[in-house]
Amino acid sequence: MVPTVRLADLHLDEVLDKGGQGAVHSLADRPDQVFKQYFLPTADGAALSALVGFPATLSPGDRRTLLESAAWPTEIVVEGHRTAGFLMQRVPARFAGRKANGRHQLRELQYLLFPPKPLWGDIEPLDVFERLFLARRFIEVMGVLHRRSVVLGDISMRNILWAPGEPPELFILDCDSACVAGTVLPQADTPDWNDPESRTSTSDLDSDRYKIALTVGRILSCDAYVRPGTGLDLLDGLPDEVAAAVGTTFARAAGGHGTRPTVDEWARALSGRASIPLTPPAPRPPMPVLPLTDTDRRGPRGVIQLRPYQR
């Protein structure tokens, strides 16, 4: 049974954010959770249930990885028979910085893609090793999803947050665009973060793989617009093996559907381990199909003499 709560039982506090699809409310009696309320009455309750039920299907380690690093839907909110939205973890405070004017500002991925400005306040970009760590963590989280064929969808410079520290941490927003079985709402795409090969407005593992390449490539080059197929100018200081592997893996994402690097290939590229090319075993030659002939003709049958019955 998927955890469900009635809208009437929630104590809505302030509106934290308002977007095209819904609003996010804080909750007076649940300080660590927030409520995303859908504006559209057409939210797909079954697909959302599948998302909420997904963490329970994971191994404890994978579950921890996902829930520590993503605002995953954890409870469905219903109003009568209608799906009103869902509860998710509130963004932990360490993922927000303070701008020069003292206001809070989420540490969005975009702050790692441009040269820093005084207006950013205490949002100071990570150094190259911290970036590498963050990229590995991102691949780890995406691995939990992709190995189970879960597509994240809207991966962008605003939906990924980071926090400084040893090690730096990662937090992914808007996970309700993920799909386990069917989509919750029409997929949203962020400009400059779209898959150019994708003809439809839906995401799949391949479009996710393209966006994974964008994320890793852009974090490690501090370039908000670089795309596979154009030169990737990585930051100085990356280990040579990593830089070489990231360069070739990034370039491969320019290929069409079905050829983009998988999370496992990215994990290998970022690990800096040399990989040993293996020659795949040659396929077994097919059995020749020959007309069947009798090779062993039966000779004439003998007769078994039985002893006559004796009285």
Binding site: K99, A100, N101, R103, Q105, Q110, Y111, L113, F114, K117, L119, W120, G121, M157, R158, T190, P191, D192, N194, A224, Y225
Partner: protein
């Protein structure tokens, strides 16, 4: 590096009637605008901002700038009359220069957006001619104009100035509050346009306009 840029122009009435609360409200909103836009890297990268004050004359107070690099901005100061013709002349000239400069730097420039704010009736000096030059379909960088009227502004005139949307203060909020809402709608429009401007070169940028502004009534721009 070649960029796609959506320029924003705030053309603000600073005639004598704006003195006191109204002008203070706008001056107070400018640091907020600077911080919201300037601290958002993607928006900063895709938009530019220019401030023009007008009364009996028009003056470029902040030339078209990347707000993340601006450290101070001249304050609006109320005095004089309301000369739309001067405002439109200066606006047309600066848009023309700005677009040419950006293009010469290799940028792709999208149709500029003008937020026009006035609280009074324009001097009757044939401003319509200057307006026609500004919105001339034959002039490629002609801007999209959103016009906001409050105080003594005349609805019909504000409607005439707008090319896309007009907003009239409806008295539900005091002037200071209404102008704060005006500034918020400007900030939101810049932020949303900056993050949503299309990456596909053939599609162009999307100017995200406010649907409603608290304290103002939305009026359709007059068809020309």
């Amino acid at each position: 590096m070649s960029q796609q840029i959506l320029p924003f122009y705030l053309v603000c009435d600073e005639s004598g009637s704006m003195s006191g609360e109204p002008i203070e409200a706008i001056n107070k909103a400018l640091p907020e605008l600077h911080s919201e836009i300037g601290s958002n890297p993607v928006v900063t990268d895709k938009t530019r901002f220019c401030l023009i004050g007008f009364s009996s004359r028009a003056e470029i107070l902040l030339p078209l700038s990347d707000l993340s690099t601006v450290t101070e901005i001249p304050a609006l100061q109320a005095s004089g009359g309301t000369d739309y013709a001067k405002a439109f002349d200066v606006l047309r000239e600066t848009i023309n220069d700005d677009v040419n400069t950006l293009k010469a730097q290799g940028h792709q420039v999208f149709r500029p957006a003008v937020f026009f704010l006035s609280d009074g009736l324009p001097a009757n000096n044939g401003w319509e001619g200057a307006y026609r030059a500004l919105t001339d379909p034959g002039w490629r960088p002609r801007p999209n104009i959103l016009a906001f009227g409050f105080g003594q502004a005349d609805q019909q005139t504000i409607q005439q100035v707008a090319t896309t949307k007009a907003f009239m203060a409806n008295g539900q909020l005091g002037p200071a509050q209404a102008l704060q809402e005006f500034a918020k709608s400007l900030i939101r429009s810049i932020v949303n346009s900056g993050t949503q401007s299309a990456s596909d070169q053939t599609e162009g940028a999307t100017l995200v306009m406010p649907a409603e502004v608290p304290g103002f009534t939305t009026i359709t721009a007059e068809a020309l």
